[in-house]
C-alpha cells in the first residue's frame, strides 16, 4: 500500500516497467504476509523455504502447503477476477456503481450453485458453468428492468434493479436451503463469502475459467477505453460495439461465476478496487484492467488477513469484511459521483 501511495504522488514519472515491478512486489509481500498470519505465525523465511524447498517432515511446511497457500492463491485469483469484472462493468456501462454484487450477478450465481447442489449435480466441472448461467440470467433481467425505468438504464436504476434482484434471489436461495437442511449445513459458511477450501474439482475448473475471463479482459481492454467515452465515440473509432459488449458480458459472467463457485458471494471487491486503481493510473483501461487485477488480489489478501485476525481465534467471513469496507465507499460514491 505504501508504494502505491508513492506511485500516486509521481504519476507518469515511473516508467511502466518499474511501476509494474513495484506492484508485483506489493503483491508478493501481501501474499507472504497472508500466509504467515494465522493461529501460528510463520516467519517469511520459513514460507519461502516451504515454497521452494519443500520438506514433508516439517510441520510448518505442511501447514503452508496444505492450508495457507491454497487460501492465499484463492484470494489472489478471486480478488483479481472480481476487481476486473467490476472494472469492465464500470467501463462499459459508464456506471461508477457497477459491481457484480450490486447488479445482482452474484445473487444469480449463488442461487444457481445452491440449486445445483440441491439436485446434487455430480460433475464438478459443471458448477462454474451453472453459476455462469445464473449470473447471466440475473444480469439480463437487471438490464431489462433498468432499461424499462423512465430515464433508461442510469447508474441508479441499475443498482436499484440489482438490489431488487438480489433480494428476490436471496430470499429464494434461503428458502431452498431451509427446505434442504443438508445443503444448508454444507453451504451455510460458503454463502457468506469465505476463502475456505472447496472440492478440488470445483476449484480447478473455477481457476481455469477465471484465467479465461482475465485473458478476455486483457484482450479487450483497449476497446473498453473507447466505449467508456460513449457509444458514438467508440463507433467513430471503428469499434464493433455489439461484439465488444458480448465479449465484456462473457468475461464478467465468467469471472463472477468462477469467483462465486470458489468463495461464495463476495461483495464490493469489484466496486471498490477499480475506483482506487483509476485514481492512480487514470482512465486508460489498458492500465486499469491489469491494475485492477493486481489491486484486487492485494485487496482481498489484506481483507482476508483482517477477517482471520481481528477476532482471532474466531474467523469472520471475508465477505463481511469486504462489505464493511465497501458499503461506506458506496455511500461516498453515491454522494459524490451521482
Amino acid at each position: 500500500m505504501q508504494t502505491m501511495a508513492d506511485a500516486r504522488e509521481h504519476p507518469g514519472h515511473w516508467s511502466t516497467g518499474i511501476a509494474g515491478l513495484i506492484c508485483l512486489c506489493v503483491l508478493a509481500v501481501a501474499f507472504l504476509w497472508h500466509i504467515s498470519v494465522g493461529a501460528k505465525e510463520i516467519p517469511f523465511a520459513v514460507i519461502v523455504e516451504a515454497l521452494f524447498t519443500y520438506n514433508r517432515d516439517q510441520f510448518d511446511h505442511i501447514v503452508v502447503h496444505e492450508i495457507r497457500l491454497p487460501r492465499a492463491l484463492m484470494a489472489v485469483f478471486v480478488g483479481a477476477g472480481l476487481a476486473v469484472a467490476g472494472a469492465l462493468m464500470q467501463g462499459v456501462t459508464r456506471n461508477p456503481l457497477a459491481d457484480p454484487g450490486l447488479l445482482g450477478l452474484m445473487a444469480g450465481a449463488t442461487f444457481a450453485v445452491v440449486v445445483a447442489s440441491l439436485f446434487s449435480v455430480p460433475d464438478f466441472s459443471m458448477i462454474p458453468l451453472i453459476a455462469a448461467a445464473g449470473a447471466l440470467i440475473a444480469a439480463v433481467f437487471v438490464w431489462l428492468v433498468a432499461s424499462a425505468v423512465r430515464g433508461g438504464a442510469t447508474p441508479m436504476s441499475m443498482v436499484l434493479a440489482g438490489a431488487a434482484m438480489s433480494a428476490f434471489l436471496g430470499a429464494l436461495t434461503t428458502a431452498l436451503l431451509l427446505i434442504d437442511q443438508q445443503s444448508f449445513e454444507q453451504l451455510r459458511v460458503w454463502m457468506t463469502g469465505t476463502l475456505t477450501v472447496r472440492p478440488r474439482g470445483i476449484a480447478l475448473w473455477s481457476y481455469g475459467w477465471l484465467c479465461v475471463g482475465l485473458l478476455i479482459a486483457l484482450a479487450i481492454a483497449r476497446q473498453v477505453t473507447t466505449l467508456a467515452m460513449g457509444d458514438e465515440t467508440a463507433t467513430g473509432l471503428g469499434v464493433n460495439i455489439r461484439r465488444l459488449r458480448i465479449a465484456v458480458l462473457s468475461a464478467v459472467v465468467l469471472l463472477t461465476a468462477a469467483s462465486v463457485s470458489l468463495v461464495g458471494p463476495m461483495g464490493f471487491v469489484g466496486l471498490v478496487t477499480p475506483h482506487f486503481v483509476r485514481l492512480i493510473v487514470g482512465f486508460d483501461y489498458r492500465w486499469v484492467i491489469p491494475g485492477s487485477a493486481l489491486a484486487g488480489a492485494v485487496f482481498l489478501l489484506l481483507t482476508d488477513i483482517v477477517a482471520r485476525t481481528v477476532l482471532a481465534p474466531v474467523e469472520i467471513s471475508t465477505g463481511l469484511v469486504t462489505a464493511f469496507i465497501g458499503a461506506p465507499v458506496l455511500v461516498w460514491l453515491v454522494k459524490t459521483r451521482l
Binding site: 423512465r150 436499484l160 431488487a164 434461503t174 463481511l320 464493511f324
Partner: protein, 349 residues
C-alpha cells in the same frame, strides 16, 4: 361566483363525514373482517389439524381436546395475532416514510431502519443473553434511530435525483449493517447464533403471548400519535416549500413523523425480525384500493400490512409442510418483483 347545486351538496356530504370518503371507511371495515378471517384460518392450518369449528370452540368456550387447546392457544393464536399487528406497524412505518420522503420506494427495510434494529437486537441476543426479553424493543428502537441518523447524515438532499439517491444510500447502509449482524453471528455462541438467525429470517415461529401483549400495549400508546399524523402528513407530502407556505412547522413535523415511523418499524422488527417489503407494498395497495387522504390511507395501509404478513406467514407454513418458510422470505419473494414494478412505473422527475 355561483355554484351548481349538485356540487355543493356533494361537498356538504363530505364535511358531514369529516372528509372521510365512505369507500375508504368501508374498505377499512372489510380489511378488519379479512384479518379476523386470516387469523381463524391460520389457527386451523398446521401439522396438527384443527377444524374450523374446533378452533372457534377453543376460542369462545374452551377446547374440545387438550392438544387443540395447546396448539391453538399457545402457538397459533398468538402467532396469528402478532403477524397482524406487526405487519400493520411495518406498513404504517412505510406509509409515513413514503409520504414524508415523497418517495414511493421508501420502506423501513429498504432504507436501513430495519437493519439498524436488527443489529441492536442481534447484539442483545448474542452478546448479552442474560438481558430480559423486554429490552429487545428498546434496543431495536435505539438501533433503528442510529441507522436513520446515519442515512440522514450521509444522503445529500440538495440534488434533483434525491428520491433514488435516498434509497441507494439506504441500500448501502443496509449492506453495512447486515455485515455487522453477520459478524455478530460468527462471533457469538452457536446456539444463540441459530436463535438469532431464525429471528433474522423474519420467522414468527417463536412468538408468544408476551409479544401479543407488548405489541397491543404499544399500539394503544401510539394511537394518538397516529391520529395526529394525518394532518402533518397532508402538508409534508406536498414537499418542503409548499408545506412551509401552507403554514406547517416543517422541521418539527418531519422530525416527529420520521421518529414515529422509526418507532413503529423498530417495535415490529423486535418481535418478528426484519421482515421486508410489507412497508413498501401495503401503502401502494391501499392507494390502489381506495382514494383517501393521507390519514385514512395510513390506517388502510396498516390494515393491509397486517393482512399481508398474516397471509405471508400462512403461506410460509402451508406451502412446503412440514418445512416452515419464514414469513420474511415470503414477503421478499413477493416484494422484490413489486419493487421492480414500482421502479418501472415511476414517473420521471
Amino acid at each position: 361566483m355561483s355554484l351548481p347545486k349538485s356540487s355543493r351538496a356533494q361537498v356538504d356530504d363530505r364535511s358531514f363525514s369529516l372528509a372521510l370518503p365512505r369507500g375508504g371507511v368501508l374498505l377499512l371495515l372489510a380489511l378488519g373482517v379479512a384479518s379476523v378471517g386470516a387469523t381463524l384460518l391460520s389457527v386451523t392450518v398446521g401439522s396438527f389439524p384443527v377444524s374450523a369449528t374446533d378452533a372457534l370452540l377453543t376460542l369462545v368456550r374452551g377446547a374440545p381436546s387438550e392438544m387443540a387447546e395447546t396448539v391453538v392457544m399457545q402457538f397459533r393464536l398468538p402467532r396469528a395475532l402478532v403477524a397482524v399487528v406487526a405487519g400493520g406497524l411495518l406498513a404504517g412505518s412505510g406509509a409515513i416514510l413514503q409520504n414524508v420522503a415523497r418517495n414511493p420506494l421508501a420502506d423501513p427495510s429498504l432504507v436501513g431502519v430495519s437493519q439498524g434494529a436488527s443489529v441492536a437486537v442481534v447484539t442483545l441476543i448474542v452478546m448479552f443473553p442474560g438481558m430480559p426479553y423486554e429490552l429487545r424493543p428498546a434496543a431495536a428502537i435505539l438501533g433503528a434511530l442510529a441507522a436513520a441518523l446515519i442515512i440522514q447524515l450521509s444522503s445529500n438532499r440538495d440534488s434533483g435525483s434525491a428520491t433514488l439517491r435516498f434509497i441507494l444510500t439506504g441500500v448501502a447502509v443496509a449492506a453495512f449493517l447486515s455485515a455487522v449482524t453477520g459478524a455478530m453471528l460468527t462471533y457469538g455462541d452457536v446456539d444463540r447464533a441459530v436463535s438469532a438467525m431464525t429471528w433474522l429470517a423474519g420467522s414468527l415461529a417463536t412468538v408468544s403471548w408476551d409479544d401479543v401483549w407488548l405489541l397491543s400495549l404499544f399500539v394503544l400508546t401510539v394511537m394518538p400519535a397516529l391520529c395526529w399524523a394525518s394532518r402533518p402528513l397532508r402538508a409534508l407530502r406536498m414537499g418542503r416549500e409548499i408545506a412551509i407556505s401552507l403554514g406547517a412547522s416543517f422541521q418539527r413535523d418531519r422530525l416527529l413523523l420520521v421518529l414515529l415511523a422509526v418507532l413503529l418499524a423498530a417495535v415490529a422488527v423486535s418481535t418478528v425480525g426484519p421482515v421486508g417489503f410489507v412497508g413498501l407494498i401495503a401503502p401502494h395497495l391501499a392507494r390502489m384500493l381506495a382514494r383517501t387522504g393521507p390519514g385514512l390511507h395510513l390506517f388502510l395501509s396498516m390494515a393491509i400490512g397486517g393482512l399481508l404478513l398474516a397471509c405471508a406467514d400462512l403461506l410460509g407454513r402451508g406451502l412446503f409442510e412440514p418445512i416452515q418458510i419464514p414469513a420474511g422470505l415470503v414477503t421478499a419473494l413477493l416484494g422484490a418483483p413489486f419493487f421492480a414494478y414500482l421502479l418501472i412505473s415511476r414517473r420521471g422527475t
